[in-house]
Symmetry: C2
Subunit: 158 residues, 2 copies
DNA sequence: CCTGAAAACCATGCATG
DNA sequence: CATGCATGGTTTTCAGG
């Protein structure tokens, strides 16, 4: 199933709700120039068809004690084994993202922990849980992240 | 300024609003066991002190035509130059995140584009805008991303 | 700092162009 | 598929503990 959008009004709704998902339907409706009920119906369709897959608050990692973040590239020790590493690691909640990549490693993770010792423990857990070697790159400073997608009209092929 | 939280009620609010920022104050208030007004006041304080820095809708990249994502490591051609690359690249809205890292490269970017040709153009733009060399790792599959932070009580040092 | 209540506002469903 | 209205729920503010 490949979710898809109808027109530029949907695109505007997605752009607005992407930036400010707590806006009221009334606010959205005047920003996109449509009645409240119409906006509500479209928003619900965008949610149920999987264009909008969820909502998040963005939390300052410092404020919740996750001061250290890192990228961890992982490679299965046994190259014949199937691609089960992501499932084997899913329970480790320090892992924020997991992608398979075209490069030296098989996967890359983005993780957040409190201390270097927590990072050490996490790496050990990852190695044990998924039987992989790891290569860790520590983040020194985050300039920006979670930037909302810029959705120019016409940038979405049907 | 280092934002910080008072107690476990704030932590619960952050955890809940992180997972579901469109929940009503009434819903939050029964999840954390406090009156609606108290929850509202705390939520506003968490926002104004920078613990909650914003809200986002999570959009299926496929649905908006961003089918290709990648990590781009960049290194300034002139190692003496100050750390201006992040500002020089900020206008490129295909860039979702920018971190400085401890590793071979100086920075790592996470980017989303529509096509390989767009990626090619983006890499050229990055090289020109910031006078950097690049090393690109294409994402083949995203297993998960944007996972909400798990906030166990007591995991946030004061 | 929390509570509770009054007023303004918003979401929701349905009937209608 | 969009609109406008009625209604029940939600947010907001403020007085009081």
């Amino acid at each position: 199933m490949l979710p898809c959008m109808d027109d530029s009004v949907d695109l505007s709704i997605v752009a607005e709700v992407s930036r400010d998902p707590r806006a009221t339907l009334a606010q959205l409706s005047e920003r996109v120039g449509l009645g409240v009920s119409a906006v509500q119906a479209r928003l619900r369709r965008l949610e149920s068809t999987g264009v909008i897959t969820g909502y998040r608050a963005i939390i300052d990692p410092q404020a919740v004690g996750r001061t250290l973040s890192a990228f961890i590239e992982i490679t299965p020790l046994d190259p014949r084994q199937p691609d089960v590493a992501p499932e084997l690691l899913e329970h480790l909640d320090a892992i924020e993202a997991c992608h398979s990549i075209a490069g030296d490693a098989a996967y890359i993770l983005f993780v957040r922990v409190a201390t270097p010792r927590d990072l050490e423990a996490l790496i050990r857990d990852i190695r044990l849980a998924a039987s992989v070697s790891t290569r860790t790159t520590v983040v020194l400073q985050t300039f920006y992240e979670n930037r909302p997608m810029a959705l120019a009209p016409g940038s979405a092929p049907g």
